[in-house]
């Protein structure tokens, strides 16, 4: 079942949508239903049978694992080992999936300089590469809006521009997950599959998420993305340095979002977008460190936050030079 399931491609989906009754798709659908039943029987009723391969066994253990927050250090190590082994079996990839905990005394904050951003979108492509975002669905955590002077809400800007930048008399505003202190999304989740870490990063446990999308409806900033199909990243483009709560390859039907590049920032590096920005419009740092750049910005620049009136307390400030 699992091997046939992996061979998803765009043409099949298009085919399904356009020719509901073609014989080929009917047979595929029917064989899939049969495969599901037989696999469920094989895996469910006789887990110890000889036929069960290593992959099935690992998958089975993965299926019944706990929410990440309830795992002991040993359980975290085991699940990571299983995920790495599964990637090796399935795609022959050597992944390094980390479980770095939050660093004590750190609360991450982000600044975005609207006088500097010129809409080059280097941040967007860096983010896609770093975070293994679905190339097929063109998933983007970061959106850049071309703004008319006098407006400060990205909702009034143009998020679909496709021309040479910067344009005279326009300015640019980026959005992404704002990692709200009072996040509406974490409150909405019925299974506690998404939460705010002690260092302020709002994360998703992809394996615990049930895909109900209530968090997506609750987010006032369009900060969340859903894996409508199985995400696809070309094998040679996969970023193999991963984090369990960060850029590891997501299953289909799960929610994902910006994690301030948790796999980098918890090792003291900057998020990919900050590093990629050619104009220096992006500032990232520890809000609890009085000497950090983000603290300098908050204390010396004119800053504002998007939709302050909602009381979500985002840790993402726009500022003007």
């Amino acid at each position: 079942m699992s091997s046939s399931r992996r061979k998803t491609d765009t043409s099949i989906i298009d085919d399904v949508l356009k020719n509901p009754s073609s014989r080929r798709t009917f047979l595929k659908g029917a064989s899939f239903a049969a495969a599901v039943t037989s696999a469920a029987l094989a895996a469910g009723c006789v887990p110890g049978a000889e036929a069960a391969s290593e992959e099935t066994r690992l998958q089975w253990k993965e299926f019944f694992k706990k929410n990440y927050r309830l795992m002991t250090q040993e359980e975290k190590r085991q699940t990571v080992a299983r995920l790495e082994r599964l990637a090796k079996i399935r795609q022959d990839m050597d992944l390094q999936i980390g479980t770095e905990p939050p660093v004590a005394g750190v609360l991450y904050g982000y600044g975005f300089n609207i006088s500097r951003c010129e809409g080059f979108m280097e941040c967007v492509s860096a983010c896609i590469k770093e975070n293994n975002l679905d190339r097929k669905a063109n998933t983007q955590y970061i959106r850049i809006f071309e703004m008319e002077p006098g407006k400060l809400d990205p909702a009034t800007g143009n998020g679909q521009f496709f021309h040479e930048v910067p344009v005279e008399d326009k300015f640019y505003m980026g959005t992404q997950c704002f990692h709200c202190e009072k996040a509406p999304c974490t409150r909405a989740c019925p299974t506690k599959a998404t939460w705010k870490e002690p260092d302020g990063i709002v994360v998703v446990d992809y394996d615990w998420c049930i895909g109900c999308r209530y968090c997506q409806a609750a987010c006032p900033y369009y900060g969340r993305r859903f894996n409508w199909g199985k995400p696809e990243v070309p094998k040679d483009e996969v970023n193999r340095k991963q984090h369990y709560l960060g850029n590891r390859l997501r299953p289909k039907g799960k929610m994902e979002k910006c994690t301030f590049c948790i796999q980098r920032t918890r090792k003291g590096r900057l998020p990919a977008c900050v590093e990629a920005c050619p104009t220096g419009a992006r500032v990232f740092g520890n809000l609890l460190d009085p000497d950090s750049e983000i603290r300098y910005v908050l204390e010396h620049k004119k800053v504002f936050r998007m939709r302050e009136e909602l009381g979500t307390d985002p840790k993402f400030w726009y500022f003007i030079d």
């Binding site: 099949i12 899939f32 909702a155 299974t191 409508w228 199909g229």
Partner: protein
């Protein structure tokens, strides 16, 4: 009235199955059509299971579509059973006592559909066990969705067990002990209001979506449900009256009409109040309503939908209120159908989809369900109708037999 020998729980279940497998050719044909629809639903769902929700018309902007729309509306249909339960059990109204079991059957069918729609909408249905308290994690009381899981399953239990107890007693030729089931009836009355209020709060509690973040939503859900639900029950009663030997008193229909008219009028007043608020002085919070009623930047797929719904709603309410045919069922029953469909259009797609458009970042897209969504929806509706017919058929046979022996 001595209890017949060899009537126990096992024969009860077997008899229910036996009665349901028998029937006229027309009835069997009806069953086969339903079975075919369910088969098609499973076939459509197999694509979703394989390729994910990518085969639906939903996307990151319109992240809820036909499934959640139908779910929302059907919660109302389930809640509406209280309009029969309240007068039947609490006020001992003899007319409603005759039909309350049918109302409860409809509620169970509607709830089965609700829960199936939720599972169909989930990206990870195999992870649904994460919701079960004890083995999973239940984000209670913070998540309104957790509340909804609780109240829907609780209501299903109440509406399944109380009638099952009464029917089983009657099946064995005994009178059901009112002291035993009355507390649960009281509970189910409060519960009925709670399922629809909690479902409304699911949307109402999201400041991110101004179209939903509206204190009138809960009360309006109730009003529309108490119009659409009894309208559906009237239609079902009419079908039962004309196709079975179980005859429904005319006064039942009269009383139901009153309930429908009052609820429909309250619903229209609240609709007017909402429309007034959105359009007298439109703010940026009115943008979803503008999209719904007039379209935005060339995107106007819901405009005909909502206008048809509102006009049909108005027309049906007027017909039911003024009763031009002098209780002629050929006038009232089509009016009930029109009212039911109109409220389905508005409280389903007309409520869920515009709440998500435009996106919080101002992007406007249109939503159109794919054949997969339509197929799965058809299958779920067929499942619900099947459940309702099974329950009602068994209930009517037992009640008739009990009524004759008494």
């Amino acid at each position: 009235m001595t209890a017949l020998p060899r009537k126990n729980l096992l024969t009860f279940v077997l008899d229910v199955i036996r009665w349901n497998l028998k029937g006229s050719i027309g009835f069997q044909l009806f069953r086969i059509v339903l079975l075919g629809c369910m088969g098609f639903g499973i076939y459509a769902y197999s694509f979703q299971a394989r390729y994910g929700l990518a085969v639906t018309g939903m996307n990151d902007i319109v992240s809820w579509g036909l499934y959640i729309s139908n779910f929302t509306f059907l919660v109302g249909v389930a809640a509406a059973a209280v309009m029969l339960i309240l007068p039947a059990y609490i006020f001992h109204d003899p007319d409603f006592h005759q039909v309350v079991i049918i109302g409860e059957g409809v509620a169970v069918g509607a709830l089965v559909m609700c829960l199936t729609f939720i599972v169909a909408d989930m990206g990870g249905p195999l992870q649904a066990w994460h919701l079960i308290p004890g083995i999973g994690i239940f984000n209670f009381p913070s998540s309104l969705l957790a509340w909804d899981v609780l109240v829907l399953n609780g209501y299903l239990l109440l509406n399944g067990l109380v009638p099952a107890y009464i029917l089983y007693s009657h099946y064995r030729g005994r009178k059901a002990d009112e002291r035993k089931y009355r507390p649960f009836v009281f509970l189910s009355i409060f519960w009925a209001f709670s399922i629809h209020l909690v479902t409304a709060f699911l949307y109402q509690g999201l400041p991110a979506r101004p179209f939903w973040n509206n204190p009138l939503m809960g009360p309006r859900f109730l009003a529309s449900a108490f119009a659409a639900g009894p309208a559906l029950i009237s239609l079902i009663l009419a079908v039962i009256h004309s196709t079975t030997t179980y005859k429904i008193d005319r006064s039942v229909f009269h009383k139901l009409r009153l309930i429908i008219v009052i609820s429909a009028i309250i619903n229209l007043i609240m609709l007017f109040s909402e429309v007034f608020k959105e359009f007298y002085f439109p703010t940026h919070h009115s943008i979803s309503s503008i999209y719904l009623f007039f379209g935005l930047e060339g995107h106007n797929s819901l405009v005909p939908w909502i206008w048809v719904s509102v006009s049909a709603n108005l027309l049906a309410t007027l017909v039911l209120a003024f009763n031009p045919g002098k209780n002629n069922p050929l006038v009232l029953l089509p009016a009930c159908t029109v009212l039911f469909v109109a409220i389905w259009m508005e409280k389903g797609i007309g409520l869920i989809v515009p709440g998500l458009i435009p996106s919080p970042l101002g992007e406007i897209v249109d939503y159109l369900p794919t054949w997969v969504e339509l197929g799965v929806t058809l299958g779920v509706l067929a499942l619900g109708i099947t459940v309702v017919t099974w329950l009602i058929r068994a209930a009517l046979i037992i009640e008739q037999e009990y009524g004759m022996n008494r």
